[in-house]
Amino acid sequence: MSAHDLTKPIGEGIFTWPSENPALLGSRCQDCGRAAFPPQTSCSACCSTRVEVEELPRQGTLWTYTIQRFMPKAPYNSGETQETFKPYGVGYVELPGGVRVEGRLTENDPEKLQIGMDMELVFYPYRTDPDGTEVINFAFSPVGSAADTGA
């Protein structure tokens, strides 16, 4: 039994899991070439339904960001409580040839974030469900920073 048997992705079909080298999944329009995340059944640019799912690039640049300072209400489900909640970064990362994807950032200090900086995709245990399953989420991390994914 592999470790992956006790894990699941936070959303079905949004990234490859389990995988040796997981990646976000997007759809690409076979008519106009535009991509979307997560995969859509049609193209929101040209209305075509000829779309195919593909892996999106794992590196990009930070387009904009903020820090979420208060704990969101449900449906937020991180396993945290008001006492254990830690502010987290949120941003859009521009993936070349793909799209700008919104995700949590591993960095929550605004002084260490800058528009245009290089970011890379990481996967990390987000919460543990009551049945013991570890839920995996994706995030973007500044390239070269120590991967502190406890955000």
Binding site: I14, P38, T64, R100
Partner: protein, 380 residues
Amino acid sequence: MDVAIVGVGIHPFGRTPERSGLQQGAYAARAALKDAGVAWSDVQFAYGGSFSAGSADALVNELGLTGLPFTNVANGCATGGSSLMSAYSAIKSGEFDLGMVVGFDKHDRGAFNADPKSMGIGGWYGEAGLMLTTQFFAMKITKYMADYGVSKRALAKVSEKAFQNGALNPNAWRQTPIGEEEILNSMMVNDPLTKYMFCSPSEGGIALLVCRADQASKYTDKPVIIKGAALRSRRYGSFEVFAPSQALEHIAGPTVDASKAVFEMAGVGPGDIDVAQLQDTEAGAEIMHMSENGFCENGEQEHMLLNGETTINGRLPVNTDGGCIANGEPIGASGLRQIYENVVQLRGEAGARQVPDDPKLAYSHVYGAPGISAVTILQR
């Protein structure tokens, strides 16, 4: 055929524990009827909406069961704007002579918690903590400040003005002025936006009576004409709230599209407008919406705000009643509050917050999830 607003009514915004949302709507409706001097039984049709306070058409239980066609409107933050547009079209078609537009709401405290599934987004988006309008506005203004050199001080100036104007408005929720320093130093919510830069969900009600302009003199000697009304949803490439991804290309958002359409419809330009109510979900939104609606170039807001050009006595008064920041945002009523304020300003009945020199043209703009905008131009 022109359409006129001949009666307006408001239930004060804020928190009113002793009245339900529906009762606040009925309170506003009775005030509008009184303002126009008509009976509820004279009203031939109604459009209304509420997000959290039940079906608007339940108002007939409060106002009277007259058998009129009452249509519920649910269009997020553009609910009021959509109700007004529907009533406008109904009168314009020639089908009806007199109708009511009403909106009310009563929300729980704290930020809205939208359900991603209701917007066609996977549940993971909410679980991961991305389904927050506050984040979107913070990220949009972060990018805008970097691109156009707008400062945090300009953000604080927007809020300072909102609270100043709220202090002059007996129907506002926040009636205490708050200074620039206190705004900047209040709790950070979503960087760079602090607590006093955001509006909060609140309560309130607004009702309007609309009629054929050629019959307006029956009800009022100060009719206000709807010169244009437009509603637009997002196009591919605009940066919108609740978007797990965005296009690499960038085009104007629904506000720009709706604004262009309404100016064309009214046959006037941004320079002709004497008073404007612009969606200020937070301070950055007002700044961006100033340029998106055509009132300035990108980046010009900095000196406009620091010079006080958008205060009540400034060149272009913006959010003269304190906007969403001082009134809170009861979704069903919020867009109609802007119309109410513009009617009161055009009639010259705004008291301590009256814009000087007899304003003739007034502009209103709402923006909301998941990328819709409604704008209106009124003329006295």
